[in-house]
Symmetry: C2
Subunit: 231 residues, 2 copies
DNA sequence: CGCTTTGTTTGATATTTATCAAGCGCAAAC
DNA sequence: GTTTGCGCTTGATAAATATCAAACAAAGCG
């Protein structure tokens, strides 16, 4: 790993507070690798060999059961993945593939477990990271069980709208991916978009314009306990 | 807290390995309380004041959104709950109510956070507990997104069958609760049971007999990465 | 550039799931 | 013992969602 990679690494939230010695021993076996798009990184059922930190690019976590597949999350820069499998040393429950060209840091699982045991401050960060991962998952489950597909889409658009500057933004992923993440078929996502036209949502390709956010909010009824990842 | 309660407490997996001093400071503010059935313990959106450990009885975790409600998990003795909210000090994402008369240990959240920071071995247990909670949640999400309601019921019955001695067992909860947990209406659960008759499932009230486990497995296609909580 | 592939949309249809309504059965309460 | 309430079941119907098929559009490739 190059010296400036190490420096960048040291500034990530997860590694910022830990002791120098622990950081050293964590980084020693780590390496940084660049992957092209659509590469399978890990496979459901495999035993965790490396803890992953996404530095640059995008990654999809997905799960399979027989001939069905569904995307569980999409990750952006600075996200970590398969932490839970790493710390308990049990098989992955999800697979991961790159969405775009990605730089990913790989840290041997054994090192992570050792340093969690040795460095208190790192353990604290791990606890926080696990807890928010868990809470995200609970939110997704509530979203699925309590809302219809149109409601899920409406809330998703509101989140994107809030992150954007004005009333117009572009979808961050292919629609088929968004559909799978929201738990519906691509055909149904199309129809869901169509039915949101009545609530001031205009779609042209990946471009979305929210003409009447209040109408959309009336339908979506967002709540922080499902939709606000910071709460 | 009575002396024998303290002793019992000390033997729980979560508290067995920690140092005496840490245990002392954790137990000082803790107390044990008995609740009648159907009592609301915590409410979604509230700020965590106590970490909960269920000693005896049963607890339902559920979530609401407007006029809809769904049960997220059912807990039995030795389960802990709302750990994630406690350690990150953010509002609960779920509500909890007792299912039956329950003895519950309550530990002030602040104490938990302090001891996590002070006692390494307790922190390790917390990490393990959080990680398995997270993995359970991922399993539930996969179950929901990848399977139909009949398939979910079939796999649920197989799990109960494996836990039981012979081919007959009784359902651990009311059917309406099971329905909500499996993500369907009570009416639909009835119909799902009816359609499993063709696969050797005989139901009489809460009594279930699996006449042809192989037929049921053929339909359910269980996989450890969804159905085995130990994997 | 034209070609091919892949993603998206739309329509028709089937399947799954929910809702509404009624009746049954068991258990607690009087 | 009767009554009452509640959970459960069943049937009829409606709504939500998936599947299949076709057409189209956009993106990548030789």
């Amino acid at each position: 790993m190059r010296a400036d990679d190490v420096a960048e690494f040291r500034h990530l939230p997860l590694f910022r507070t830990m002791g120098d010695q622990a950081f050293e021993s964590l980084i020693r076996g780590a390496y940084l690798q660049t992957f092209p798009p659509a590469v399978d990184l890990i496979r459901e059922g495999d035993v965790p060999d490396f803890f992953h930190v996404l530095i640059e690019g995008g990654v999809e976590l997905y799960a399979q059961w027989h001939d069905r597949e569904t995307t569980m999350s999409t990750l952006g820069p600075l996200a970590t993945f398969i932490l839970a499998a790493t710390v308990v040393d049990k098989p992955y429950l999800m697979s991961a593939r790159t969405l775009s060209r990605s730089r990913i840091a790989l840290i041997p699982s054994e090192d992570v477990r050792r340093v969690v045991a040795d460095d208190r401050s790192f353990a604290d960060e791990i606890v926080a990271e696990l807890a928010s991962g868990y809470r995200d998952c609970v939110r997704r489950e509530k979203n699925l069980k309590l809302r219809s597909s149109v409601e899920r889409l409406a809330n998703y658009l509101i989140r994107l709208h809030e992150a954007a500057e004005g009333d117009e933004f572009s979808l961050p992923h292919e629609k088929r991916l968004i559909a799978s993440w929201l738990g519906m078929t691509p055909e149904n996502l199309s129809r869901a978009f169509a039915s949101l036209r009545a609530y001031g949502v205009q779609v042209d390709g990946a471009q979305v314009r929210i003409a009447e956010i209040e109408d959309l909010r009336w339908l979506a009824k967002p709540t922080p306990w499902i939709d606000d990842p910071k709460s």
